[in-house]
Symmetry: D4
């Protein structure tokens, strides 16, 4: 059990518990880390957990919650939002949903309210226009897109809300594993878009959660 | 004068004269090639001709026409369109205009009618929506965009007209000289977009001209 | 069944039904989407469907047609062409055939006539020369090539018909998954070639179908 | 004067005036656009304006303000902050200062208070530790870094404030024009970092301004 | 048995035995090479040996030692250090441990003393600060890091000891298989960092062993 | 004068004198090296010498020969071929001529006969077909091409003569300084093509000269 | 059986039969093509044939020869050389042997004599020096190398024989699938090296065979 | 004068003064920083200083020393070595000398003895063999190489001394600004090579100086 030193001070420093990154860990290791961390934090979560891995983890650790689309398991359920702020999650394709759900569930487990805008891609822009007013009501938007990744540019040109963009690795050929979408988002002609790593729904949620928490404390 | 063998058969084969590509040629060489080709073709044009180069060429060759924004010089003026088809040229930023004009003037010198839609980028999508009906009337659209290059995707999602996309090298940083826009266009989630090389307004016009000519002959 | 919002307006806007992209979807999901869309469109098709996936889909949805080489399944058969225009499909290697067939069947299901020119690569140019006259009769050519991807350049230098080029990921080493062929096609010294994404036979067909439909309506 | 269509609605939609991007425009064009926009907005600014360009612009347009380190000129001065929130600007090297100042002045012209933390790079981490408490007081941090771009990771590991990271093109060799710093920031092991394009100080400021404005309205 | 010519002179020339690189060799080949080399050297080792491969090798060759975390098997055990110098091994994440252990065990089998500093990444810099004095006592440091690879820069800014940096392929998305960490280390603003190939813990250990041996002989 | 150690043994070992590579050397340095080497070799040559540089060199060193198109200067003239073998130089575009001439003159100064086939690119394949029989008579072909670099593939598919391919940096956009042509040549579906570095006409000539010399001695 | 059109004229044009490239073909397809081609050529060969694939092919086609290390199967055995010329095959690592053997067996099946120089890498240069005189006797050298790919440079600096270099994909990390070795060979400071695609032992052999055949006919 | 905060503690922490990196600084800024730092350190140096820049700096700051080949200026001369250890500097081409000299002079100003081995590249390996014994006497070797960058591999295969490799940007075409040499060095099959950034002679010297200083204190 000495393969990882738990960073107990981090929650104090950063406001969030250390989250377990699933890939490259055996279900046994994930179970053990969950057990060790659970007593110290109100909520411990693990990301990139497939249903198969979760089955093994659950057989060793009781009382876990699993969010299949988001591939997240946690020691606590989603509770009613603790903050009066809504985060909008925007996503075009079915294939991008796991990344978008990873962001949504991370935010919900962190106490924030989330509204989902699925299947509103640029290939049929009327779908996006029809939800424009609701988008404008969100405090921050997380926009998830693969293939050419144009959605954040279009959204940022439509509404005044800040946009955090998540490129996904969905695509093929000259997509180069999400590089195309990543470059699109970094080069957006609509200023005011922050970008995170390819497929990093969790990172986008953490950034937004830090923003909401920091601003809530100061306003 | 033996540095280039003129391809007299090409016009018969392809329907278009050989065009002179300016870069890497001295004004003297451009002047000499223009003189040699002029007797054989109704219209000879040279591309990527700066005003400074044109001054030298004009001092040696009489009766030339110069299109400054397009950086094109030609032995014939733009005449009224010979075909009943309109090509729409769509472009977002001022900096992309030289590439868009290269396409427009090439088409006009080839006998086609052109309608220009400038400054209709995705950072303010209402401008694009306001011209949607006119875009739908075009036979083909050439969409020119730099930076993240999202414009062709959005246009192709709005109208049923085929789209030829031209990425430009406008941008900086992770734009990598137009690579970002090129990848965006190749990965478009709106199917039915044909892409040409970065900054290749001429090539887009040639493709469209071949399409219009081929279909006009067969319909 | 709410994982994808069907874009019923798209066919009106773009002239084509929404096509199902197979990769990343379970056979069950594909079957369900086919069932839901079938009542609304004369023809619904799904691409990148392996024989194994098709077996499962067929066991759940009746009356499907399967085109194995093209990896396409559809709710309608190929009917006699509705347009008086022929599209030529040109391809060099056996390994590129699935991509070429994806383009061919997509066009045929869209009502266009197709002529196939297989095994006419540049490594034995006499084979290409021997079909030159028939190529010249086509309204548009789709040229599919892997490895160094030189075929579209050579074809566009031989005939006056517009060329849509499809690079494939066939090759190895410094091919980099089709990047070599893609760059070759974008840099062609024969102007007037439109390029689509690596392996995107479907996209090439959609572009050509839009071209033929748009021009047919206007001429 | 018809080379650019002013987007009068954008300020309403996005909360900020359209800013003039200097590169690729002549001083005459910049002067003309400034004149045309000035009557419509309380503050119009132009970025990437060298002292030489500014001299020409100033000779044509009266009453301008110039911020040399930031390479920004504007029609209004920096006024006392209108918001009770401070943005921390963090930067390591002298060479990165123009990018950091571009962000700082953009925020100040937008009505926000800014605190500068210059010369606090990771090569001497004690300098960063000595300002840690003041960093923790900021509402948001913009961290600018070239070369290996490790500074945002270290800052995000030290404080709970959200971090917007700006890679710069400072460096040489395997830096590849800022690519190294960009990749570092995207791959940060400290979650919750939003990244903008290389050298895009303006974009970082716009994102932060949108965040502060959106949250101020909702809290 | 003639598939590899043993380089008997190399040990004399370089001070180290030829090591067997496991990947691409069958367990049978590895067993045979071990048997042939064992009589000639005090210690023969093989790297990148999975537990499964080791099982087969052990069934054919007696008296082997296996270091599972390091994925190394050898014909000799780790003996007490023969040199009065300590090498510090520094590593942030659990996932980087195999690479760090490959370096550690290689050094120990070569007769050097090693001290391990695991789980001291930049996302929680206080952990690194708390071991700073012990790091300063080491003769050389090997710093192993994946993801953004910032750890060597930070360590080199904290202590005066020379740093050999090992990027790992741990990460995803814009990590590009370790490229991000590699570029970070090459561009470090803290001068005096030597870099080896991605995941090359063995190479880092060999470099350090050569340094210690060369200097020990000359001082 | 001690900045370069002349490799007197190389001519014996390799059959060719050491050639001076011009870039990065001052005209004075080039003149001095020429003077020092001239007594030892029948022919010393320098490559990448612009007319301006040659003027300075000639003012210091007497009896030099200059080949302007090839950008080569030498201490000996081109003499009648000493070998009964002809090398064919094939080239498509005017812009590629300097690279092709560098190869041609290097071969001629090395005593080989050269036949030039200029302006025979793939955009008009009939020009290539019309010289096919003469190409077949050559002992070896050097094929120089920029842009998409398809020429060597087509030539190697037409004739049985071995082909050495030289990509050039001529092109723009997605050409990436000759990378597109280089990849095309490496991936050729016509087997039996050897490739040299971008713009390396000299290297191609050296390879061919070594081939001809080696085979002449052994046959 | 109509999936590939046999290029009967190619042998006349190029001097060699069409070879079957195994990857992407089923054993059944390979068997069928072998059967169809065998009556027309003295020797038909297929490359990249694993032992498992060969078992199936052999069960359907009689009288085949299999060269396991080279992964080649053929309809004819290796016969005594028909030419008085020797080709030297040079290779450093065990892992590169399949590529080197592919080249060797292709040459032997084409009637040429081959001498193998295995395990002579740059990491122990004395091994290479000890075979230098025998290398100098070869007509042409094929040098195969993975990892950093320095071997061809060193060989070309040692002997006057022309060198054809084959990079392999052996390596890891910053090797990028053979890219490192490929770039090394293209940039060699020893002029006169021709390079083929990564892992393309077959292509190197074809180039050398064409060279030997062409020169033998002309000298 | 407040544009840079001097890191007075760094010398204590790292054993070396802060060095001024010339690029991007005006001669005036360099002069001012030199003046400010000089009172605090026995030796302050500035790198990448061209003769033209030095002329301006010298006119403002007295008593400076300039090393033209190394492009370094300093406030102290090179003194006799203070350590009983020699560092060997190995370099192949004239064009790489500035980088090699940057390393050499940095070491000499730091009190170490240096021996230069210039013009010993792999294209004529006998020159390297003739200095092998003297190379073996060095404590550490710094090997500088451009183009294909094979020299460090060969040197590390010849001697037992540790090698620090410096790739340079010398080359063209597929060299990609030093990337080819960098990858070669990182992938070396001779283990025990540490690599620094392209052209970073200073960084290599700093690493070696830290190694010598650390080991001298501990042995
Ligand atoms: N083979 C294909 N290649 C590229 N795009 C495709 C292909 N097949 C379908 N598509 C596109 O993918 C979209 C359907 O994606 P989805 O909603 O995920 O099924 C359709 O609108 C098509 O435009
Ligand atoms: N883990 C490793 N990483 C890098 N190089 C290694 C590793 N293990 C062994 N080597 C090198 O690979 C060589 C052995 O290769 P081989 O002869 O194929 O077994 C040895 O000389 C080592 O220098
Ligand atoms: N190992 C190989 N590497 C590269 N090209 C090959 C190889 N084997 C066969 N080829 C080429 O592939 C062509 C056959 O492809 P196919 O018609 O698909 O069997 C032949 O003409 C050969 O030139
Ligand atoms: N030639 C050089 N190559 C790489 N780094 C250098 C070089 N010269 C100076 N440096 C580093 O750059 C830092 C100084 O940067 P600055 O504060 O901008 O002058 C010093 O701490 C050195 O570590
Ligand atoms: Mg959809
Ligand atoms: Mg605008
Ligand atoms: Mg074939
Ligand atoms: Mg500093
Ligand atoms: Mg941890
Ligand atoms: Mg021409
Ligand atoms: Mg070996
Ligand atoms: Mg030399």
């Amino acid at each position: 059990g000495d393969f990882a030193r738990i960073d107990h001070q981090r929650q104090q420093r950063t406001g969030f518990p250390e989250v377990i990154w699933g890939p490259g860990k055996t279900p046994q290791q994930i179970a053990e880390i969950l057990e060790r961390m659970r007593p110290h934090y109100p909520c411990v979560m693990a990301t990139r957990i497939s249903p198969e891995v979760f089955e093994v983890v659950r057989s060793r650790v009781g009382g876990l919650h699993y969010f299949e689309k988001a591939r997240i398991c946690s020691t606590a359920p989603i509770l009613p939002p603790q903050f009066p702020l809504q985060v909008g999650l925007v996503c075009a394709g079915t294939a991008d949903l796991p990344v978008a759900e990873e962001a949504a569930v991370t935010l919900q487990l962190s106490g924030f309210g989330v509204e989902r805008f699925w299947d509103v891609g640029v290939a049929g822009i009327h779908r996006l226009l029809s939800v424009r007013d609701r988008l404008e009501e969100m405090a921050v938007l997380i926009v998830v897109a693969g293939m050419e990744g144009a959605l954040p540019s279009v959204v940022a040109g439509l509404v005044s809300v800040p946009v955090i963009a998540v490129p996904t690795s969905i695509g093929y050929g000259a997509n180069f594993g999400g590089l195309a979408a990543l470059l699109t988002m970094l080069n957006s002609c609509a200023p005011g878009i922050g970008v995170v790593n390819i497929d990093n729904g969790f990172g986008a949620a953490m950034l937004v959660a830090k923003i909401l928490r920091s601003l809530s404390q100061r306003l």
